[in-house]
């Protein structure tokens, strides 16, 4: 299969021009992502998972190494609006209603009368809340608005930075199943940063495991659990085996 996103020997050092040499966040990261696949990046907190995601999305410039997105540089990809970014904090605009928030990217990109917005409100189950302001929503609803907003301009790549980290376990499971459904319907290539091992196993085709800071690749594992998956998939013995393996790798 053709590789869609290719990272080769990516290094990132924060403040690399400072006299102390800066803080090394990523060290020699190389991996490939197939179009339409679901990849998770897991690792201990502070290992540079988010940093790696920012590098792919051109929200940060790597110090060394190359990243190619469908034959283009990350900057070209960002300028062509290929990325849908779902941050850890939903980052909704307090002064905009639910539908205005979802419509914000379209407004910025000059997409007129985006029919997708009402479809997405339906898809993420927020009908009836179109006119509500963010302060009137629960944490899970805010995350759904954030997801719908990222999907609103049909980006071919979704970059998700632990968007479910602040939700309780039950809501997380439900959102994960919804995410699988949305992924299937949209055919988007998804890269998800998470520190939840079972979440990574449940969702992904491929899991990239990073070490403690500076983040280096410990392992890249293909997850052979049959699809379609649901939360029950985690009870399968092969899923168990992956979870145990990753847990052993990450616990010191």
């Amino acid at each position: 299969m053709m590789s869609y996103i290719v990272l080769k020997n990516v290094f990132l050092t924060y403040h690399h021009d400072s006299p102390g040499g800066g803080i090394e966040a990523l060290k020699d990261i190389s991996f490939e992502v197939v179009k339409g696949s679901f990849t998770s990046i897991i690792g201990p907190s502070g290992c540079g998972k988010s940093t790696l995601l920012y590098c792919i999305g051109n929200l940060l410039e790597p110090t060394r190494g190359s990243i190619v997105i469908d034959g283009r540089s990350p900057q070209e990809a960002r300028k062509n609006r290929m990325f849908g970014y779902v941050p850890q904090d939903p980052t909704l605009m307090d002064w905009k209603t639910v539908s205005e928030n979802i419509g914000l990217p379209s407004k910025i990109m000059g997409i007129k009368n985006n029919n997708r917005i009402s479809e997405l409100i339906e898809l993420v189950g927020l009908n009836g809340f179109e006119k509500n302001y963010p302060r009137e929503l629960s944490g899970g609803m805010k995350q759904r608005v954030s997801l719908a907003r990222a999907l609103s301009y049909n980006p071919p790549i979704l970059l998700m930075d632990e968007p479910l980290a602040n939700l309780d376990a039950l809501l997380r499971e439900k959102m994960n199943e919804e995410l699988l459904k949305i992924w299937k319907e949209t055919g988007t290539t998804i890269i998800l940063v998470t520190h939840d091992i079972s979440e990574a196993v449940l969702l992904s085709d491929k899991v990239v495991i990073l070490s403690n800071r500076p983040g280096t690749i410990l392992e890249i594992e293909t997850i052979d659990v049959p699809r379609p998956r649901s939360r029950k998939s985690l009870r399968l013995p092969e899923a168990h085996a992956y979870v145990d393996k990753f847990r052993d790798m990450l616990s010191v």
Binding site: Y54, G57, N58, L59, R78, K79, R81, F83, G84, Y85, P87, D89, T91, M93, D94, W95, K96, L104, P105, K107, I108, M109, Y133, P134, R135, L159
Partner: protein, 265 residues
């Protein structure tokens, strides 16, 4: 603070009850101790004086209101525009910000004698003083709001490849609105003070001028009438700003501030 409806209703009577007791005590104390009217008039004397000179009071009130309104509007427009200008253009910020910080701490009322030399006694000088005193809190507050950097929002906007203009008009201006209104609230209170003091120094009409006139002729009841009206003007203007904030920012939950009149200022 949230309270039950019964308690809230009872609560709203307390200040009125206090006022009634206070006025009664005042009235009787002045009569009992035979305090001369030119030192402390009774509430009844003040009220009857107010009724007697009502047309004069109205005339001077309108002058003061006009000064406050014009001065505040000009000060707000200049302050808000300059704040946007120095926030948007980094060169302008580098040039002007040190001067703004330096001038901010300078007592603007100290400029009054200079304005008298330039513009003479009266209305125009007073408006200029109100403008100069309301300008800075609005400039500084709005600039602080515009200059807030929210990493998450900036990253999100970058992922949409948004232009600087779009970031300002979709995000930063809105993010700064509560700061702008905080500036307006400070500015309107300072404008009232500015107008009165300006009239003390350079007025030939207005409530501040009336207060000084009453002082010179020991017309203490008239002085009380003027001061009472000034208090009412300040209270009403503050609430107009507050009301405008509620209309213009329907997304914001009601916030209580320590400087709000609700907390007893």
């Amino acid at each position: 603070m949230k309270k039950g409806p019964f308690k809230t209703k009872l609560d709203s009577y307390y200040p009125w009850f206090f006022l009634a007791v206070f006025l009664l005590l005042w009235q009787f104390a002045v009569e009992y101790f035979k305090i001369p009217t030119y030192i402390l008039p009774t509430p009844l004397v003040i009220i009857s004086k107010g009724v007697e000179i009502w047309p004069t009071l109205v005339r001077h009130t309108l002058v003061t209101l006009k000064e406050i309104f014009l001065g505040f509007v000009i000060g707000s427009l200049l302050g808000a525009f300059l704040a946007f200008f120095i926030s948007y253009f980094s060169l302008a910020r580098k040039i002007f910000l040190p001067y703004i910080i330096a001038f901010q701490t300078m007592p603007k009322l100290g400029l009054a004698p200079l304005f008298i030399i330039w513009f003479g006694f009266g209305f125009f000088t007073n408006v200029t003083i109100v403008t100069s005193i309301s300008f800075f809190p609005i400039l500084v507050n709005f600039f602080t709001g515009l200059d807030q950097f929210n990493e998450n929002e900036e990253r999100l906007m970058a992922s949409y490849n948004a232009s600087k203009n779009q970031i300002y008009f979709h995000v930063r201006l809105f993010r700064a609105l509560p700061f702008l209104f905080a500036g307006f609230q400070l500015g309107i209170i300072l404008s009232v003070t500015g107008a009165i003091v300006a009239e003390f120094i350079a007025g030939n009409e207005g409530l501040g001028y009336l207060t000084i006139l009453a002082n010179n002729t020991l017309e203490t009841p008239m002085m009380f009438c003027a001061l009472l009206l000034l208090g009412i003007i300040g209270f009403i203007l503050y609430h107009i700003v507050d009301f405008m904030q509620k209309i213009l920012m329907p997304w914001a939950a009601r916030t209580e501030t320590l400087t709000g009149p609700e907390s007893g200022l």
